[in-house]
């Protein structure tokens, strides 16, 4: 496969533009499945796109007394993280020899950038509700990162590779007991990483009315929404890459379709969890992630060492 120059890869394919388009389609799927669960018709296909374009023409309000530069720059940091993560994952699918040793670690860091951007943006907005949302987001980040990294570690320990391509070349992790347990833990962590119900305490419309995003309007809010949409697409792709053997694009149509179906399956599972679960309090979320989830991830890593 002929590769574009690196800048274009990050900005167009498979980076920013591709991830944004795919993310908007994914968020339409999210809203559509939600509508069907509630026995509604649901929004038109272009609805997420209209939402972002509309925000682009709205006024940008910067709260008085807030940290202006940080308030406006924070969303861009999150967007950059999501775009770069998408670039690295898809490069591993598209071309052999394009990754580097340790790119899995880089990905783990890049995938936390959107959450860090939300924390920074909410604290910069000088709103008490946003600060509460930011502090909850921070606690949630501390809670889910531990089991998430341990779940990925279970795969890394089995393949002995810190390079995404080598993990892709090995048999899919989710075919073994250790891999299945790690995948379940990772899916639950993904739910928190995307701040979807039951782990949406940082936003909590009913009590924090938008939480971390409360003071955002216009283009910065559009960037946040776009980042969320991109993460809704990139996180399942990352899980499929690490646990499910990835999306094989070089070996004909059938393996590629199977890979895409795995991503769709993970997305739909996420949406169904979000539509059928109630919100948990932040202390319950932290207790869950540091307790049972971490334990399960440790068990998965332990199973790898006994050869399961």
């Amino acid at each position: 496969m002929e590769m574009l120059p690196l800048t274009l890869q990050v900005l167009v394919f498979p980076g920013l533009l591709f991830a944004a388009a795919a993310g908007l389609v994914t968020s339409w799927v999210d809203r559509m499945v939600t509508a069907r669960v509630q026995m509604r018709v649901g929004p038109p296909f272009l609805q997420p796109f209209y939402d972002v374009v509309k925000l682009m023409i709205k006024e940008t309000c910067v709260p008085a007394g807030g940290a202006r530069a940080l308030f406006l720059a924070a969303p861009l940091a999150g967007l950059a993280g999501a775009a770069l993560a998408s670039t690295i994952i898809w490069r591993a699918f598209l071309a052999r020899g394009s990754g580097f040793s340790g790119d899995v670690i880089v990905l783990l860091y890049l995938l936390t950038l959107p959450a860090l951007a939300v924390i920074l943006g909410s604290f910069a907005s000088r709103n008490p509700l946003a600060s509460l949302g930011g502090s909850r987001e921070m606690k949630l980040l501390l809670a889910y990162e531990l089991p998430f990294v341990l779940a990925v570690l279970a795969v890394v320990a089995r393949t002995g590779a810190l390079r995404l391509e080598e993990i892709l070349a090995a048999p899919a992790a989710a075919t073994r007991p250790s891999g299945i347990i790690a995948l379940v833990v990772a899916v639950l962590c993904m739910q928190a990483k995307l701040t979807l119900v039951p782990f949406d305490a940082p936003e909590a419309e009913t009590e924090l009315s938008g939480g971390a995003y409360i003071e955002y309007s216009g283009p910065p809010l559009a960037v946040f929404k776009l980042t969320r949409a991109m993460m809704l697409f990139t996180m399942p792709v990352f899980l499929v890459a690490v646990f499910g053997g990835g999306i094989r694009l070089g070996d004909g149509v059938l393996p590629a379709v199977a890979g895409v179906l795995k991503v769709v399956g993970l997305v739909v599972a996420t949406i169904l969890i979000r539509n059928t679960a109630p919100r948990v309090r932040i202390d319950q979320a932290v207790r869950f992630f540091w307790g049972p989830a971490t334990l399960a991830a440790l068990v998965a890593t332990g199973l790898v060492f006994v050869g399961l």
Partner: protein
Amino acid sequence: MSFAVRALTRSLNVFHLGGSACNNCDIEILDALTPRYDVERFGLTLVGSVRHADLILLSGVFNTKAAIRARRIYEQAPKPVVVVAIGACACTGDIFRKSYNWDGPVDRYIPVDAYVAGCPPKPEAMLEAVVTLVKKLRGA
């Protein structure tokens, strides 16, 4: 019709500002947002913060204290924004217009784009107000 106007009218985020209403209008507003009417088909969604709003619904009798707050919240909304007065109280003051702390109908201190009369108005009436507004914005 420009693409910007099209995007705006297809993605109206609704913010509900209750000014000590008796709750009837508020219940009817919530009814209009239930799956039965499924306003997300037209891109209408309820938001919790006025910073995300494109459409502000006002309900109730705004007294002298509430009116100042309502005006401030209107000023906090990013423009362009449209305002709809829901119910007889917000439109005219209704039976409270001789009350000592009534501060006049809401359009005295907030520019209102559409009035929905009724005590309370039906969800269909509110949807018609939104449709009329959208048509006007699109210049049809």
